[in-house]
Symmetry: C2
Subunit: 159 residues, 2 copies
């Protein structure tokens, strides 16, 4: 991918971000997923319009791409996001096995306009999570039973 192509992909992500702002769909964030130099999916944050706290640009772009490719493994794709992905989206990108992320603004830029995910990064640090969140273990033994059934299955599909 040459610089001009990369710029064009990021510009498509920025256009999505503007679309979201102008339509009052949610925060000013856009993302596109690219495969072999072609944009497969474009999305912007729709937390407000869809009333879904998980409707971040990257999540929606990944979900669209998976639908298009009819698979959950997007390891041959790259993602361009107008802003550094939040921990939810970063983890989603990793679950999707996307190996390369281009991003524009930083998490500090996002924090400066009121989208502060630094606390989430902090909570994901196991040493600090207790400070912010009640996380209580309950009935582990019982909950292990579906795990047992899973490992016993011969036709399981791993991901």
């Amino acid at each position: 991918m040459n610089k001009q192509e990369k710029n064009a992909f990021m510009e498509a992500a920025v256009k999505e971000a503007f679309k979201g702002v102008r339509g009052n769909h949610g925060g000013p964030f856009g993302a596109v997923v690219v495969q072999n130099g072609i944009i497969l999916a474009r999305a912007h944050n729709k937390v407000v319009s869809s009333k879904d706290p998980t409707a971040h640009a990257e999540i929606l772009a990944i979900r669209k791409t998976s639908k298009i490719l009819n698979r959950f493994d997007l390891s041959d794709c790259e993602i361009y996001s107008s802003c550094e992905p939040c921990p939810m989206c970063l983890a989603a990108i990793l679950w999707a096995r996307i190996k390369k992320i281009y991003y524009g603004c930083t998490r500090d830029d996002a924090a400066a306009i009121g989208f502060d995910d630094r606390v989430i990064y902090e909570i994901l640090d196991i040493k600090k999570e207790k400070k912010h969140l009640k996380k209580i273990m309950l009935n582990r033994e019982r909950c292990l039973q579906p795990f047992k059934e899973w490992t016993d299955k011969t036709d399981r599909i791993t991901y």
Copy 2:
């Protein structure tokens, strides 16, 4: 919530996990969202059947709950998950403003059956992310423009 009620909610999450295993929908994980002692939404992992890498139990349960309550703020809800949430789901729970998580199995239990999110936790540690992932900044100045437009909006809805 008394212990018996909590057990019942976790049992509902476990039932979901079994449903997923038996239906070949995805990994052996279930979750329910509870509000005022009532289960609002039940879900299990559908990564395989829906071919969506983001279709984890907690994400689906949150999305269902948001649809039912018609809002993205679920701060009056609790979540019961048959397994300790992965970083994607944990961050989603935080974005949804859920304050209490009950979980059964641990991340180590999940890793033991092939669902290893420890590398994701590691990547979310900014000091280590470079080891696993190409994350490249591109055109920050341009990407800041939707941010500027967002902060200039008088009718923006924050979340």
